[in-house]
């Protein structure tokens, strides 16, 4: 018996000790990724779904196409691609990527998978799909380097765990996110141990015209018709600014509740930077 559900912008079908997840977009009868999704973002969503259902996945076999470091930072789930010391037989879970925008999470000893394909799919606009694909290709070129406020890969990695997993610092009086260094007495703040609940209230929002977008987004902003950013407050106190995912048609209002999913933010020098983006709560 299977039951398809929406999860972080994807469609999931849950079965015993396994999960089928797919993009909700179809192009020419094929399931295709949405404008800021790929197998890494979907793998993270799948692991997060399994965690939400009580499965204790500590390590997993990942195919080369998935960014293992990003999966680890976002979910805490290790893999041999990320950690050379991990013994092959310690890993009890697999992720298998399909030919289309689908993947399966299952125990390594599972013998067969039997999922009923989700039906709540949407045909993606062909031009939009093509243009976004081209833009991402150009953006990932080694020569594509933003200047001005250049955020190096090293600088990105310094905050990547907090960015991808909402891990925060616990101090007397509350939680701090994004992480900070020293406190007002000059002491070192603790490392991030508490994970914020990935739900927040919109305190303000804007839609920036494509012409005014930072250079990191200059190829895609015109296709998207601008960039939509929210300032939100998490229930536990901290606030943050987040882009809205590229695959939702959403007109925000102050007071709305949103949740978050890992998506591609931008790419340069051949490296995709991932981060959380906001989705309206259905």
């Amino acid at each position: 018996m299977s039951d398809d559900q929406h999860w972080k912008g994807y469609l999931v079908v849950e079965a015993k000790d396994s999960l089928f997840i797919q993009s909700s977009y179809v192009h020419e009868d094929k399931i295709v990724y949405g404008p800021d999704s790929d197998s890494t973002t979907m793998a993270i969503a799948a692991i997060q779904f399994m965690h939400s259902k009580g499965h204790r996945i500590k390590s997993i076999h990942l195919p080369d196409s998935i960014d293992a470091t990003t999966v680890y930072l976002a979910t805490g789930v290790d893999s041999s691609l990320h950690n050379d010391d991990l013994q092959f037989d310690e890993i009890k879970w697999d992720i298998l990527v399909g030919e289309e925008a689908t993947l399966v999470v299952a125990k390594t000893d599972a013998e067969e998978y039997d999922f009923e394909a989700p039906t709540d799919v949407e045909i993606i606009d062909a031009d939009f799909h093509h243009d976004m694909g081209e833009a991402w290709c150009s953006e990932q070129a080694l020569t594509h380097v933003s200047q001005g406020a250049y955020v190096s890969h090293s600088q990105y990695l310094e905050g990547a765990r907090a960015r991808l997993s909402l891990s925060s610092q616990s101090v007397e009086g509350g939680l701090i996110w994004p992480p900070r260094q020293l406190d007002s007495e000059g002491g070192r703040l603790p490392s991030e141990t508490e994970v914020l609940i990935a739900e927040a209230e919109v305190e303000s929002w804007t839609r920036l015209s494509a012409a005014g977008a930072p250079s990191e987004f200059s190829l895609r902003a015109p296709i998207l018709g601008g960039l939509q950013t929210l300032l939100v407050r998490f229930n536990q106190g901290p606030r943050g600014v987040f882009l809205v995912t590229d695959d939702v048609d959403y007109s925000p209002s102050i007071g709305d509740t949103v949740h978050f999913a890992v998506r591609k933010i931008y790419a340069q020098e051949g490296i995709i930077r991932y981060g959380l983006k906001a989705l309206p709560k259905r």
């Binding site: 001005g148 406020a149 920036l208 015209s209 005014g212 977008a213 930072p214 943050g240």
Partner: protein, 391 residues
């Protein structure tokens, strides 16, 4: 303690300049030198502080030494001051402190920015570079977006609206119309300013300052040498400065700038004055919402009442309670980032000496204030100027 006076001040026209960095700086310095009433020679200058973000103009490092080399100030100690859009506001503070400390008698504070020599694509690289780039820019925010978030929240928390911002835009275009140094010299109707292209919802083109080239230069002197140069000095009554967290999301409130509040309280306190004493104020209106919030944070209106202040025309020259942005502000006069802070001081110097165009003169101006903000409020410098020395 030594008192500090402005003995000369000058600037270029702001706008799209044919001149490069050296030419613009030379023009601003020349105008400042010639504004000194008597006996001035640039070789008398002890030290210089020059604000610049180094946006364009091909000189990212050692900008200040290049500027002084081309303006008769060879060999003096000089440095570039960078605090985003507040660069020369802080250069002015540094120059004031150099004299206050007794280490120098005559000091130049200035600023320069060349912004229109870059292609549209290269300009884009610079968008939002003075915010918290790692978190804000990667969430798609540049300063129009950041200030748009503030505006929408202000509308939500207080009885303000976009119409209030339109009133600010109309006023600043009115004030800048007769300013020979202004970038955008055109009067704009309420209807026109209310129908601009949406830049960052809810801010339109008419809520945003232009991208300008320009340079400005102010000459300061210690009290014991002032009379050698002029019988009509403008005194710096006080200097206040503060900082705040770079990112909006790290601040307790996004509808007020704590750095402005702290800097102005410090300046008012040191001068023994209040907002009510000011005849005019050059405030940092990079966006119209920034002026609305500044009128509150500087104490010209109560917190949350800046919309009403604008709507009632309280900042209009010779009509309201205090003239806000007699030069036209960043909105009309223009915003060459590093030059803006000392450019504000040039305007106040001239207003207090009665040397601006007759049509722009604030009547009976005795006290004026400059308010220069870096980024979305992470840094702020406030200076109070007066015809009289501190009592």
């Amino acid at each position: 303690m030594v008192d500090v006076a402005v003995i000369g001040a000058g600037q270029t026209k702001y706008g799209n300049h044919q001149l490069g960095l050296k030419g613009m700086w030379a023009e601003a310095a020349e105008n400042a030198f010639s504004s000194v009433d008597k006996n001035f020679d640039p070789r008398q200058i002890d030290e210089a502080f020059i604000g610049s973000v180094a946006f364009g103009g091909a000189q990212l490092g050692n900008t200040a030494a290049l500027m002084t080399e081309h303006s008769g100030m060879d060999g003096i100690p000089v440095r570039r001051v960078e605090n985003a859009c507040a660069s020369s506001g802080f250069a002015l503070r540094d120059a004031w402190m150099a004299i206050k400390s007794g280490q120098a008698d005559i000091v130049v504070a200035g600023g320069i920015e060349k912004m229109n020599d870059l292609s549209a694509e290269r300009k884009r690289f610079w968008l939002g570079v003075s915010g918290d780039t790692e978190w804000e820019r990667l969430a798609g925010l540049t300063f129009p977006g950041t200030y748009a978030l503030m505006a929408r929240r202000h509308f939500h928390e207080h009885a303000s609206s976009h119409d209030d911002l339109v009133h600010i835009s109309v006023k600043n275009h009115l004030h800048g119309f007769d300013n020979e140094h202004a970038h955008l010299r055109k009067e704009v109707s309420f209807e026109k300013a209310n129908s601009g292209f949406m830049v960052a919802d809810p801010l339109t083109l008419y809520d945003c300052c232009p991208t300008s080239d320009g340079a400005s230069c102010v000459i300061l002197a210690a009290d014991h040498v002032v009379r050698k140069f002029t019988d009509d000095p403008v005194w710096i009554r006080s200097s206040g400065a503060a900082s705040d967290r770079l990112a909006l999301h790290d601040r307790p409130s996004i509808t007020q700038l704590v750095a402005t509040q702290k800097a102005s309280q410090s300046a008012y306190s040191a001068a023994g004055l209040t907002a009510k004493d000011m005849d005019l104020a050059e405030v940092h209106d990079c966006f119209t919402i920034a002026e609305l919030m500044a009128t509150e944070d500087l104490g010209f209106s109560e917190h949350g009442k800046g919309g009403g202040f604008a709507r009632e025309g309280q900042g209009i020259r010779n009509e309201g309670s205090v003239c806000i942005n007699p030069s036209g502000g960043l909105k009309s006069k223009g915003h060459p980032l590093g030059a803006t802070g000392t450019g504000q001081a040039v305007e106040v110097f001239k207003q207090l000496r009665g040397t601006v165009e007759d049509s722009r003169q604030v009547r009976d101006a005795e006290l004026g204030l400059t308010h220069n903000v870096g980024g979305s409020g992470a840094t702020c410098a406030v200076h109070i100027f007066g015809r009289e020395r501190n009592v």
